[in-house]
């Protein structure tokens, strides 16, 4: 019997007037699993993430985090979750340590001082502990965002392009850090990215989203061959072109 899903999304929809940004999307994330959510710009990836994060109300559908209904018990559901996104940097006028303390208190992390010390070491931020976050480089800010995301040892980790705008070496380090957390079997990850090589390397399963719908789903290593593409990158381009042509059609 498979372990119960950490994240269960059922028939999720989000409409803005006539536009259906997310259209009947259902999927699950299991413990120890990294699920990639990919698709062209405007496909509905970030809208889906925002609904799971509770900052955007779905038009229809249901989201459960460890069996807790997000719509009914928002605070309890989100206490099991955390996220990192390049477009949501932490306050630049607080130091690294201050940011971690503030968010640690919001997540009511026990033994917070020890937890912060551990994360400063794990994410190579010890020398920046008294540096204002706004003065950090992109890579350092990404590491800080990930350290924040790990503060409460989340069962569900949502990562929106976590390695965008950082160099390949730092990206590799970050992928290794996230994989290590998932390998423990404690957490499940939903990961959006435009980097198909990264998705292939990191994700156990991938969901191709286009115009708000899941078009394809499967193992990122097997999926290209099943659909006659040379690589995941080629498959992405083919799916994106198809979506563009559909959009252009009268």
């Amino acid at each position: 019997m498979p372990p119960p899903a950490i994240l269960a999304v059922e028939h999720l929809c989000k409409s803005y007037g006539e536009l259906r940004a997310v259209d009947d999307v259902s999927f699950q994330v299991a413990p120890g699993e990294i699920v990639g959510l990919v698709g062209p710009n405007g496909a509905g990836k970030t809208t889906t993430l925002n609904m799971i994060l509770g900052v955007l109300a779905p038009t229809a559908g249901r989201i459960e985090i460890e069996g807790v209904d997000l719509a009914r018990a928002r605070s309890r559901a989100l206490s099991r979750t955390n996220f990192a996104a390049v477009y949501a940097p932490l306050p630049g006028n607080l130091t690294v340590e201050q940011n971690l303390r503030v968010f640690g208190m919001i997540y009511t992390v026990e033994h917070l001082t020890q937890r912060i010390e551990r994360l400063l070491v794990d994410y190579d931020l010890v020398r920046f502990r008294r540096t204002r976050a706004g003065l950090l480089s992109s890579g350092e800010q990404t590491r800080l965002g990930l350290a924040k995301a790990m503060l409460n040892r989340p069962r569900l980790l949502l990562l929106d392009e976590p390695t965008a705008s950082i160099d390949p070496s730092s990206a590799r380090d970050i992928r290794a850090l996230i994989s290590a957390v998932v390998d423990s079997g404690h957490s499940g990850v939903l990961w959006t990215s435009h980097n198909m090589y990264e998705v292939e390397a990191v994700c156990d399963r991938v969901l191709f989203l286009s115009r708000g719908k899941i078009l394809l789903e499967g193992d990122p290593k097997a999926l290209p061959h099943e659909h006659g593409a040379a690589s995941l990158d080629d498959l992405f381009v083919a799916v994106a072109h198809e979506a563009l042509h559909e959009r252009a059609a009268p």
Binding site: L53, L56, S79, I106
Partner: protein, 268 residues
């Protein structure tokens, strides 16, 4: 100097003004408010000057200090909120287990702290420089401060809701709020000096009961406890309404995705 480049800088500002009423309104509002406020102050001083024995320090400087207390409390709440606006921190804050009530409680506690610290400094300065003692207001000082404190919190929460709904540029609508309210609240003159329609508005404003009470105490009359109780009750109602307003706006922001998109300058 290149005229085209100078024109480009002006044009950039014009584009902003054209698409943003939040920027246009304050251009006229400040001047209009100054004229209204100082017009009524002048009218009051003309009548008060012929009245012997008026304690100008307790009446005017005391009014300034009490009104400033309300303003500091309000700004303590709004500044704490603006920190999240300026650092584009809404997604980080609201995608957490934090409840709206907890967020508001945090803003209010910040407002209390900054307001009280400001009050202490003002009291010391007024005492040392001008010999004003708030003890001159007697036991009525406690309800004065309580009503103003509740009013400042209510205004701060309502202002935060306005900025959440209208976007970061609307912060320019927030700063003049105390100045807009003050002519109606009778801070520097009795409410009776106002036109009848403004007096009607005054009756709905809790601070007006404080300043009417303050002038009565300074004039040697007993504190109007019943009026102060009414002001306190009104302040509680305003506070509840402000929290309700913020919650409604927050729900709207969650429904429309406003919080997630809040880094955009203009949101409708």
């Amino acid at each position: 100097m290149n005229a085209s480049r100078v024109a480009a800088i002006v044009l950039r500002q014009l584009f902003l003004y054209r698409s943003s009423p939040q920027r246009v309104v304050p251009m006229f509002a400040w001047v209009a408010l100054d004229i209204v406020l100082w017009g009524f102050i002048s009218r009051y001083l003309m009548t008060a000057a012929v009245r012997p024995g008026l304690n100008f320090i307790a009446t005017l400087l005391g009014a300034v200090l009490l009104w400033d207390f309300l303003t500091r409390v309000m700004q303590g709440v709004t500044m704490a909120f603006f920190e999240d606006v300026w650092s584009r921190n809404f997604l980080n804050v609201f995608a957490t287990p934090l409840r709206t009530s907890e967020y508001l409680a945090g803003l209010v506690l910040t407002g209390i702290t900054t307001g009280v610290l400001g009050l202490v400094v003002m009291l010391v300065l007024a005492r040392v420089a001008f010999g004003l003692s708030f003890l001159a207001y007697g036991a009525a000082l406690a309800p004065f401060l309580f009503v103003l404190f509740l009013s400042g919190i209510a205004l701060g929460i309502a202002a935060a809701a306005i900025v959440l709904r209208l976007g970061p540029a609307s912060e320019w609508l927030i700063w003049p709020i105390p100045t807009i309210v003050s002519p109606f609240a009778g801070v520097f003159y009795p409410v009776s000096i106002l036109p009848l329609w403004m007096q009607a508005v005054s009756k709905a404003l809790p601070p007006s009961y404080v300043f009417e009470g303050m002038r009565a105490v300074v004039a040697g009359k007993p504190a109007p406890w019943d009026r102060l109780a009414l002001g306190g009750a009104l302040a509680v109602v305003f506070l509840v309404l402000a929290c309700f307003f913020f919650t409604r706006v927050y729900r709207y922001a969650i429904r429309t995705g406003l919080i997630a998109r809040y880094s955009a300058e203009t949101v409708s």
